[in-house]
């Protein structure tokens, strides 16, 4: 059935900060337990809007972050603090790389 894709162009959704999910919707979307998502929030890996967990609003970026967390834990044996650190550093490295590319282009 996937062969149809060869002729039809599929469109996706751009992942940005605009689409909002509740905790329940996020869990359904990513097939992970709510307790685990709450741990990710405690660790600062996910930063939903809203004070209480019943008011939390997650973005599509969170869906992606969750799948990265799962892979990093499974493949590298990291604990959540390690994952949080890795994600922060990765973001910083990516930013620096782009600035470096821009500098190289100028010179």
């Amino acid at each position: 059935m996937r062969e149809d894709n060869q002729t039809v162009a599929i469109s996706g959704i751009i992942i940005d900060k605009s689409l909002h999910f509740s905790l329940a919707e996020l869990c359904r979307e990513t097939a992970v337990p709510a307790e685990w998502v709450m741990t990710l929030v405690e660790e600062g890996i996910l930063e939903p809007e809203g004070e209480h967990s019943t008011q939390w609003r997650f973005t599509l970026e969170c869906c992606h972050t969750i799948s990265v967390v799962i892979r990093l834990q499974r493949d590298l044996g990291l604990n959540l603090a390690g994952v949080a650190l890795a994600l922060d550093l990765l973001e910083e490295v990516e930013d620096l790389r782009h600035r470096l590319d821009a500098l190289i282009l100028v010179s």
Binding site: R2, N5, Q6, T7, V8, A9, I10, S11, G12, I13, I14, I15, D16, S18, A31, L60, C63, H64, S67, V68, R71, L72, R74, D75, L76, G77, A86, L90, E94, R97, H98, D101, A102, L105, V106
Partner: protein, 315 residues
């Protein structure tokens, strides 16, 4: 089928201890993890290392593999000798289809037979959502202005009715939406790994990167262009033809502009939800003194202009 030297892949000697193997593998995994590494063949190397570790970490699988002998070379044509596994009782640590997806034919022929003693597939009875996949797509800056359709070729694991896992090429035509920014991801629901049982497939996350453009630079939704200008254009002012990703426009340079000055073309950046701007940075280009006439112009300037560009350095 080609022989694979698992020791060489992990980078240890054949007599390495289990601890040494684990350390070497962990190091490789960190280096080539697709979520971390920027190296072009990271995913391939990561899978290769994972496959090697799958065998070497398990003393029984390792012993069986060792029994094939040390004289094989990577890439050498290989057939498992008949009854090569006699005398081994594999406990069958098992691996899930999600993890083993993409293991080589070599691995499959030794350890992966369905119903064999090596693995117990748990997948048939489990309801498990398919794995999310990630891929990168390189686009031209212009594609972000107009939108585009890209054909992607992904290697995806698939399982046949007998539970045998192999990879195949999955070609996808994907719409790149107008207004996409460097580094943004597109989520294609249900285009990831297949779920087991009746569980839904995972998603495919496409990371969009712009190809390096010969003269535009991109930061978020804003685009930057270094525009070479002649000294008289920047001093006297001028109306210049300036390229933009949407076509050339006329840009007015005010008189007495300065080197490095930024001129903003509002709304001519990437047409994201919040429209970006195009910034033109003035960059003085010196006319070459490649003729007598040009040289005498420079000599005249030296004579006529009291100009000390180093005045602010106190000399």
């Amino acid at each position: 089928m080609e022989y694979k030297d698992y020791y060489k892949i992990v980078g240890v000697k054949r007599d390495a201890t289990q601890d040494e193997i684990k350390r070497a593998y962990r190091k490789l995994a960190r280096k080539y993890h697709p979520d971390i590494s920027k190296e072009a063949n990271a995913e391939e190397r990561f899978k290769e290392a994972g496959e090697a570790y799958e065998v070497l970490k398990d003393p029984e699988k390792r012993a069986a593999y060792d029994q094939l002998g040390a004289n094989w070379k990577t890439g050498q044509e290989f057939r498992p000798p008949p009854n090569w596994d006699t005398g081994f009782e594999f406990s069958g640590g098992g691996f899930t289809a999600g993890e083993s997806g993409g293991f080589s034919d070599f691995f499959e022929s030794l350890f992966g037979q369905t119903g064999g003693r090596f693995t117990q597939r748990r997948t048939s009875t489990m309801q498990m959502r398919g794995e999310d996949h990630t891929a990168k797509v390189l686009i031209n800056l212009e594609d972000a202005y107009h939108g585009a359709t890209q054909t992607l070729s992904l290697r995806v694991p698939q399982m046949d009715e007998a539970g045998h896992v192999s990879t195949r090429e999955h070609r996808l035509n994907v719409k790149i939406p107008k207004g996409i920014k460097q580094g943004q991801r597109i989520r294609l629901a249900g285009q990831g790994g297949p779920g087991s049982g009746n569980a839904p497939a995972g998603d495919l996350y496409l990371k969009v990167e712009f190809k390096t453009h010969p003269y535009y630079r991109v930061e978020g939704e804003n685009v930057y262009l270094d525009l070479p200008v002649a000294p008289w254009e920047i001093v006297l002012g001028a109306t210049l033809q300036v390229p933009t990703p949407e076509g050339a426009v006329n840009l007015k340079i005010p008189p007495a502009s300065k080197q490095g000055q930024k001129l903003r073309l509002k709304g001519r950046g990437i047409p994201a939800k919040e429209k970006g701007d195009l910034f033109v940075i003035l960059n003085i280009a010196l006319p070459p003194a490649d003729s007598e006439k040009a040289t005498s112009f420079y000599k005249n300037m030296a004579k006529e202009l009291a100009f000390n560009p180093r005045a602010h350095l106190g000399v």
